[in-house]
């Protein structure tokens, strides 16, 4: 099953997002090996060149390291991964808050809704 | 590459042709055997056989051309055109391979028809031939200045030349028919009708002479003109395939 990709955004950006999420959620643990560009391109259903571009970006940001003969590995720098997790979560919260603004909730009301939701679960 | 193309052309046309000529040979053989010792009860069988045989001779003579023309059209312009015209072979190779197949089968067909006639006569014709060989030989030397073996050799060369003519004419008419993709069959039939008429007129003119010398000269002329014609038509086909080929 190929990845669900938004047709309106550049694909390589979406691939970067997806791999970052996978690293942060532990699908690719720190120091773990990433699949080859070809394998990932096949899985995602995208052009290998596009995937290569995404990988190069990730390498540039230091999240991924390339060992010439053995492939690509997630960085062992756990601090970096933690900071990435923070910024990703922050982005999600900001998006959520923007959405909820439409409903006109105060901060207190929002926290109440969250707690009530947790109880019900 | 040329031999590979030839292999596939032969693979494609041989089954049908072997069937037709094989059937003709077998029918001739059987007919020949029963012709000379039949009685009233097998008369009907004999007549049926004769009819079948006549039919088979007709089918064989036309069949070889139909099968080979069809093969060329299919692989150059119709169903298999994409496949064959994408192969890494030159236009010359595409044409020559078909020409080779045509020549091989035309010669084979003449041999098989000849054999059929021999079988039909229950080898009587062959016996006669052996008996009168010397006489034939001296008659030929006297009138046409050519030995029996020489005549056989010349006939063989002429058969091959004719086959070459059939092949290049086939390529030519197919190319013309391709310029009218909606009326393809009609154009092919018209071209062949015209060709047969012209050729028949030539043969009649060559044959209707009074002296042996004139006949010999005419035949030689026919031979050389046919050879040149084959070459010219081949070159025209080459030009049409290289510059005016459109697979729509």
């Amino acid at each position: 099953m190929t990845w669900k990709l938004d047709p309106d955004r550049p694909i390589y950006l979406q691939i970067i997002d997806r791999i970052q999420t996978d690293i942060v959620t532990g699908v690719y643990p720190p120091g773990g090996q990433l699949p080859s560009v070809r394998a990932l391109a096949l899985e995602a259903g995208v052009n290998p060149n596009t995937l290569q571009k995404a990988m190069s970006e990730l390498e540039r940001s230091g999240l991924v390291e390339s060992h010439r003969t053995s492939g690509r590995f997630v960085t062992t720098d756990e601090e970096k991964i933690r900071r990435l997790k923070e910024s990703l979560v922050k982005q999600e919260i900001q998006t959520l808050l923007k959405k909820l603004k439409i409903y006109g909730l105060t901060k207190a009301e929002l926290i109440e809704y969250i707690e009530r939701n947790e109880e019900e679960q | 590459m040329l031999l590979k193309l030839f292999k596939y052309d032969m693979k494609s046309v041989s089954p049908a042709l072997l069937l037709i000529f094989g059937a003709t040979l077998i029918l001739s053989y059987i007919s020949g055997k029963i012709m000379y010792d039949y009685d009233q009860s097998s008369l009907i069988l004999f007549q049926v056989f004769n009819l079948l045989l006549f039919g088979m001779f007709f089918v064989s003579s036309i069949g070889i051309h139909v099968v080979l023309i069809r093969r060329y059209n299919q692989r150059m312009y119709l169903d298999q055109a994409y496949l064959y015209n994408s192969l890494p072979v030159s236009k010359d190779q595409l044409m020559v391979s078909h020409i080779l197949a045509y020549v091989v089968w035309d010669v084979l067909s003449q041999v098989m028809l000849g054999l059929s006639l021999l079988f039909l006569s229950d080898m009587a014709i062959y016996d006669q031939f052996i008996d009168h060989k010397e006489g034939l030989n001296s008659m030929l030397l006297q009138n046409f200045d050519i030995s029996l073996n020489g005549l056989i050799g010349f006939s063989f060369a002429f058969i091959i030349l004719q086959a070459l003519l059939y092949a290049v004419f086939c390529h030519f008419t197919s190319a013309i028919a391709n310029f009218f993709p909606t009326k393809r069959t009609m154009v092919l039939v018209l071209c062949y009708a015209a060709g047969i008429i012209v050729y028949s007129i030539c043969l009649v003119n060559v044959g209707s002479v009074s002296s042996a010398d004139d006949l010999k000269n005419n035949v030689l002329w026919l031979f050389f003109v046919t050879a040149i014609l084959v070459l010219v038509i081949y070159l025209i086909n080459r030009y049409l395939l290289k510059r005016k080929y459109n697979l729509i």
Binding site: A44, N49 | Y8, Y82, P88, V89, F179, K242, N246
Partner: protein, 234 residues
């Protein structure tokens, strides 16, 4: 060396409209390129000119710097929009034919793909369903290690599962450094994700030749959306 160059390439069918009008095009090596446009825009004409199945009225087309001929056909693997076989052959007879003529044909890879599709190599072509015939043709095309793959409408008229299979086969057989793929199709949305570049052609003219990512960044929408906007019919 560019894999494809067109200079003033023109094709006028006898007694009809101009199919291609003085096209100028250059495609670099090693990319998956989409030739996109509506039916009758000249896509198939261009593909056939590249393959040497049509002769140009004017101008020229060069593949790796060479004119279409036996040399280019040895390095171009063509998938036609119509099926073209000797139907009396069996699947494995076709494999033998391809092996006979194409030095770059990988028979074991072809047999592997046939097996994955659960097709019987001793089956006669004429007994196969339309979908299976198309798959066989695709396998023959992709089992060659060609420098340029020319795919003419590979996914038109097949069901979504087969479509996925075709795109998957194209991707998995594509060796990035050595080959280029030119996919001609009007189903833009389905192929967009696998393309490096898009060439949009309409009424015999090239309207756009750009990388897919650039189009998305510049116009903020997919190539499909861009096309719908730019070539509105109403």
């Amino acid at each position: 060396m560019n894999i494809l160059d067109c200079h003033d390439l023109t094709k006028i069918y006898p007694g009809q409209t101009t199919a291609l009008d003085h096209i100028n095009l250059s495609c670099a090596d090693g990319k998956i390129i989409g030739l996109l446009g509506p039916n009758g825009s000249g896509k198939t004409t261009l593909v056939k000119l590249i393959q040497g199945l049509l002769t140009p009225t004017e101008g020229e087309v060069l593949i790796d710097g060479k004119k279409p001929g036996p040399e280019t056909k040895a390095m171009v693997s063509y998938l036609p929009d119509l099926m073209s076989f000797d139907e009396s052959m069996k699947i494995r007879d076709l494999f033998w034919l391809y092996q006979d003529f194409y030095a770059d044909f990988d028979k074991s890879r072809a047999e592997d793909m046939i097996q994955k599709l659960q097709l019987d190599p001793s089956e006669k072509i004429k007994l196969l369903s339309k979908g299976n015939k198309e798959k066989v043709q695709l396998i023959l095309c992709m089992a060659r290690n060609a420098r340029l793959y020319l795919l003419d409408e590979p996914i038109g008229g097949v069901d979504p599962a087969t479509r996925d299979f075709i795109l998957h086969t194209i991707l998995s057989n594509y060796q990035r450094d050595k080959a280029s793929i030119l996919i001609s199709t009007h189903l833009i949305a389905d192929v967009e994700n696998i393309l490096d570049e898009a060439i949009i052609i309409q009424k015999g003219h090239i309207q756009l030749h750009e990388s897919v990512e650039t189009i998305r960044e510049q116009y903020g929408c997919s190539v499909n959306e861009y096309f719908k906007e730019a070539f509105k019919c109403y």
